[in-house]
């Protein structure tokens, strides 16, 4: 099953995106903590797109698809306006937490969270769009209610 949501690139819409993910995750027998981690991972990628790629331009859009399979979930997040932004470098070089503390930085830990939460994180770039794919497997407790 695939669930789809499209939003304008404004940080005020992050709560709506989180609500969409939360509702879909009700089909999974996840604890509050597990579900919150997945919501957080999607939120962080969308925040990254809105702040960096779309530069907070609400006329631009992003799309979130949730692909629900038997033993795993995949989030596909499409950033349609990414001609000038290539996030692959951000995923390759992760700053250390100590470095962030010492430099008193407010940013830099969003993608660290995503990498820690998800089993796989990929970004396909090209054709004026970036496609993020975040995957997580659930070996034990998948439940379909649909």
């Amino acid at each position: 099953m695939i669930h789809y949501y499209k939003a304008n690139c404004h940080t005020q819409n992050l709560k709506l995106i989180r609500e969409f993910v939360k509702v879909v995750l009700r089909d999974f027998a996840l604890s509050d903590t597990e579900a919150n981690q997945l919501v957080l991972a999607v939120d962080e990628v969308c925040t990254n797109i809105i702040s960096h790629s779309a530069a907070n331009n609400p006329h631009k859009t992003l799309e979130v698809s949730i692909i629900q399979e038997d033993d795993r979930i995949e989030f596909e997040i499409i950033d349609q306006y990414s001609e000038h932004f290539d996030p692959t470098g951000l995923l390759k070089v992760m700053p250390s937490l100590q470095h962030i503390v010492t430099e008193r930085r407010k940013g830099g830990i969003g993608l660290m969270l995503v990498r820690n939460i998800m089993d796989e994180v990929e970004v396909d770039t090209g054709n004026a769009q970036n496609i993020w794919r975040l995957r997580k497997s659930f070996k034990q407790h998948i439940v379909h209610t649909a």
């Binding site: 005020q12 709560k15 509050d32 919150n36 937490l97 407010k106 830990i109 969270l113």
Partner: protein, 109 residues
């Protein structure tokens, strides 16, 4: 996100309710900045009603750790739900910040 601030003896308590994300974290940062500008040396964050925190919210605290240490500011966070506390634990921020269960522990942290 809503913020409520109050004085409790020598403690300046900032209650954070709702969601702290990229759209709202700036207000939390300003509240902490205001507390520091007012020379409060005992600052507590009441997270009892905090529903959600993203990296933008974590960054508010992480960016202040050195400043708290340099200025001898007593800083602690209390009342977090399990799912919110877990967000601090993912990267080990619970080892760098005083995160405790309740107000009394926060005062003694």
């Amino acid at each position: 996100m809503q913020l409520y601030e109050k004085q409790d003896g020598k403690y300046w308590i900032i209650e954070v309710a709702g969601d702290v994300d990229a759209s709202s974290a700036i207000h939390l940062d300003k509240a902490i900045e205001k507390a520091l500008q007012a020379n409060h040396t005992h600052i507590l964050i009441d997270g009892t009603k905090l529903q959600y925190i993203a990296s933008a919210g974590l960054g508010v605290f992480v960016s202040r750790i050195e400043e708290f240490n340099d200025n001898g500011v007593h800083f602690a966070i209390f009342g977090l739900s399990e799912k919110v506390k877990n967000v601090f634990q993912i990267l080990g921020l619970d080892k760098l910040l005083h995160i405790v269960t309740d107000l009394q522990q926060a005062k003694n942290a």
